[in-house]
């Protein structure tokens, strides 16, 4: 206890000295630091902040010091999080390396692999992308066809991925490839890492409905990757893939949290204030229906935040994220989608501008334009990381123990006509 209090005092003092003032304000989308070889720092303070935090390993507070992490236990890392929240400090680094790949490497990779990759994730030196989905393998991820064929000490990789977020800006990729072509589809997949600068890798950005291009088509044409880059056992990649998805879902569920790291300081972050502002209301929001909907949204949002905390406390007692990551993923995503629908209602036509045609933004402010784009982007929340429907399948089967139709179709085929309604694909969906 004493130790914790001393740690709190030290941490508070350190943050006071080291967290630049501009890093204590809401973080606009374009100031999020993703790191990597071509890292962009819109705000020079972001660079300073990243370096200072990375020196202490506090970009990843609970990871082992051996690999550059902070080495803090849960209690100490909670203190750090609380102290950062107290001054509204921005996260110094956001990355797929931190939220998805790192935890899985720490759990399943070799010491050499950890030594090679973890410190660069901690310091934000290498930016990772996720090569899972393919044109023919979305929800039915295990149906993927990208091939890796052994040739001497290398694998030769051929195929293509799609929806690869930030593939055009990433330095390395963690990738699912097929290494056994005879085995049942879950048993022939391997998990492999390689440099996006390797010869034969190319990317082509895809434009989203929001006008941005956050994801790409990614092509592999005889890409040569050393065997030592394989993580875990050959043909056992599905186990790692599923584990990583749980981390991904937990990360995505964070979109629904009611405060803190999601606060972009935008119109959607204070729905009631926005709604009152655009109606000229002073005491109370004058539209009773919208008021009720915002109240319901905020209650759900507070309850969701508590549930994330509870789930983290429960995970401490068991081991890491579990099937409830699907509950959180879905609820968080639906909340985020509701948030932006409400933001559109709150600001009326002013939230529906696409771009400004005036020099001084007198037609649409930057904040207003951001809401429309974020609203469009939010629609992807219930698709990325495994769709809403796939998560419901996971909850129904893994948590509630409801029977799996696909397992039964064989038994009852020919006897009953109505059992075909759940496709055979379901069994192989990205369910973990």
């Amino acid at each position: 206890m004493h130790d914790l209090e001393a740690f709190r005092a030290e941490t508070r003092a350190w943050l006071e000295d080291n967290c630049p003032a501009s890093m204590r304000t809401p973080m606009p989308e374009d100031e999020v630091v993703w790191g990597g070889r071509n890292a962009v720092f819109r705000n020079p303070d972001s660079k300073l902040w990243l370096e200072r935090m990375a020196d202490k390993g506090w970009t990843t507070p609970t990871w082992p010091q051996e690999y550059g992490g902070g080495g803090l236990d849960k209690a100490h890392s909670l203190v750090l999080a609380e102290e950062m929240q107290r001054i509204a400090a921005r996260p110094p680094l956001v990355s797929f390396g931190i939220s998805m790949l790192g935890p899985v490497l720490l759990e399943m990779a070799t010491h050499e692999q950890k030594l090679e990759h973890i410190p660069k994730i901690v310091r934000g030196e290498i930016r990772w992308c996720q090569g899972y989905s393919e044109p023919g393998a979305g929800s039915d991820l295990a149906g993927l066809g990208t091939k890796a064929i052994l040739q001497g000490d290398d694998y030769i990789i051929n195929g293509s991925k799609i929806w690869t977020s930030y593939a055009d800006q990433a330095d390395w990729i963690f990738c699912l490839v097929r290494t056994d072509f005879e085995a049942p589809k879950h048993s022939g997949i391997s998990f492999i890492l390689f440099d996006m600068a390797s010869s034969g890798v190319s990317t082509k950005p895809i434009k989203l409905i929001s006008g941005n291009s956050v994801f790409c088509e990614t092509f592999f044409d005889d890409v040569r990757v050393p065997v030592s880059n394989l993580v875990g056992r050959l043909n056992d990649g599905w186990t790692i893939a599923k584990r990583l998805l749980q981390h991904e879902r937990t990360m995505i569920s964070g979109f629904g949290l009611s405060s803190g790291r999601n606060n972009r300081g935008g119109l959607a972050d204070s729905l009631a204030e926005t709604a009152m502002l655009y109606r000229g209301d002073v005491v109370e929001l004058s539209d009773p229906v919208l008021r009720d909907q915002i109240a319901q949204f905020r209650i759900d949002s507070e309850a969701f935040t508590l549930t994330s905390q509870r789930s983290a406390q429960e995970a401490k007692q068991s081991k890491g994220p579990n099937a409830t990551s699907s509950v959180l993923k879905n609820y968080g995503c639906e909340l985020n989608k509701r948030r932006y629908e409400l933001a559109l209602q709150a600001a009326g036509t002013q939230a529906l501008g696409w771009e400004s045609l005036t020099e001084d933004d007198s037609d649409f402010s930057q904040q207003e334009l951001a809401v429309a784009r974020q609203w469009l982007r939010s629609k992807g929340n219930s698709i990325e990381g495994g769709t809403y429907e796939v998560q419901l399948n996971v909850i129904a089967k893994r948590v509630l123990g409801l029977p799996d139709m696909t397992a039964m179709v064989g038994n009852t085929a020919g006897k009953q006509g109505a059992t075909g309604q759940n496709s055979a694909a379901e069994k192989t969906a990205t369910e973990s």
Binding site: A272, E273, A275, M276, E284, L285, R291, D292, I294, A295, Q296, R298, I299, D300, E302, A303, F304, L306, T307, Q309, R310, Q313, E314, Q317, T324, V327, N330, Y331, E389, Q391, L392, N393, I395, A396, K397, V399, L400, G401, L402, P403, D404, M405, M408, T412, K415, Q416, A418, T419, Q421, N422, E426
Partner: protein, 381 residues
């Protein structure tokens, strides 16, 4: 802040669950209803609960309670919500004991609380005057006389009215209906001259009644707290009541859901258990997620209640709990009946009891709309 139960709490939960399953199952409520039982609750079951210490759960030790706090009482309420056993737990222990403890002076506490903890008395809170929860709408008048007060007016939907030996009557001593100032609280003996009780037969088969007071005389000592200033204690009591009721509702929600999922695994149609149909699976998964949120809210609210002086945000937490649980109890009971098909519509089957209890519990101390409106005001919009 801990959102997981500690060892003591887990043990209490388990023993409460065992007790309710074995000695107070839904069959108890069914029997009380079918036999048109004059008391509307089983004195025998209540006595066993008293012996387990449940009546004194949240009463301080100084007044013969057990000081187990509201987290303890909440766990017990949750388990009673799973079997719907009717007892004076809500009227007397959750509401009246809390109000006496918050508003009463030392003498009143010493006089009233030990009796509640021992299970000797049933005390009912006489609050509502309309069919819609509205705790500021108080028109029942108390007029000061030389020796005390004279009370005149009516109260609706008083829980356990016809079995109570005492009422705490919320009255107006000054000002107009709708105002906080001028609300005063009085203890009134049920046997007093001028008190008339009309028992109500509600859909959930639980005790409630209307009471009328005609020139009821009470002594000065019957005033609980200060004249005109009863609102603060009343308001806090209502919040505690809402949280406790939400705990009971959480028990019902989980029970209906678990029974429904179990049925989905057993009932076969088209050659497969109906739980294999994705249309039902998805609705079950959605309910499961909502219930997870309900649990977190109730745990948090109970935790805060037991922090005493340091408790934070109780009014908003109470409204969040009551709004969310009202919404989800409705969802789960409706889906529960639907997913059971024809059998869900039969009186012989228990699920209907939960549907009925849900609606009464929703209305008690404010429904979802009331609490969303209140939450919005508390949060400044």
């Amino acid at each position: 802040m801990s959102l997981v139960l500690n060892e003591d709490q887990t043990m209490l939960q388990q023993s409460a669950r065992d007790f309710c399953r074995e000695q107070a199952p839904v069959a108890v409520l069914r029997h009380l209803r079918d036999s048109k039982h004059p008391d509307g609750y089983s004195a025998e079951v209540w006595q066993s609960m008293v012996e387990l210490g449940w009546a004194g759960m949240a009463i301080p030790e100084a007044y013969e309670g057990f000081g187990f706090g509201y987290s303890g009482l909440g766990l017990v309420l949750e388990e009673t919500g799973r079997t719907l056993v009717p007892t004076p737990l809500v009227s007397t222990v959750l509401l009246s004991a809390t109000l006496i403890n918050l508003a009463g002076n030392e003498e009143q506490k010493l006089e009233l609380l030990p009796g509640i903890a021992r299970g000797d008395s049933v005390v009912a809170l006489a609050l509502e005057e309309t069919a819609i929860h509205n705790p500021l709408h108080i028109e029942l008048k108390a007029v000061k006389t030389g020796s005390g007060y004279i009370l005149n007016g009516n109260k609706d939907f008083v829980l356990d009215a016809h079995v109570a030996d005492q009422f705490i009557v919320v009255a107006r001593t000054e000002g107009e209906s709708g105002h906080q100032h001028g609300i005063s609280l009085f203890t009134v003996d049920a046997a007093s001259q001028g008190v008339e009780v009309q028992r109500l037969n509600m859909v959930d088969s639980r005790n409630a009644g209307n009471i009328s007071l005609v020139d009821v005389e009470v002594p000065e000592e019957a005033l609980l707290g200060q004249e005109n200033k009863g609102w603060a204690a009343l308001s806090r009591t209502l919040d505690i009541g809402r949280i406790g009721l939400a705990a009971e509702m959480l028990g019902g929600v989980q029970e209906v859901f678990e029974r429904t999922v179990e049925y989905m695994k057993q009932r076969t149609q088209f050659g497969v258990p109906i739980g294999a149909f994705q249309a039902l699976q998805h609705r079950a998964a959605i309910m499961y997620s909502e219930i997870e949120l309900c649990k977190s809210l109730v745990l948090k609210a109970l935790y805060e209640l037991d922090r005493g002086e340091e408790a934070e945000d109780i009014p908003a937490l109470a409204s969040m709990c009551k709004a969310k649980l009202s919404e989800i109890y409705m969802l789960v009971t409706n889906e529960g009946v639907q997913m059971h098909g024809g059998i869900g519509m039969t009186d012989e089957f228990d699920i209907g009891f939960f549907l009925k209890r849900a609606r009464v519990a929703q209305q008690t101390l404010g429904d979802a709309a009331f609490h969303r409106d209140r939450y919005a005001s508390l949060r400044g919009f």
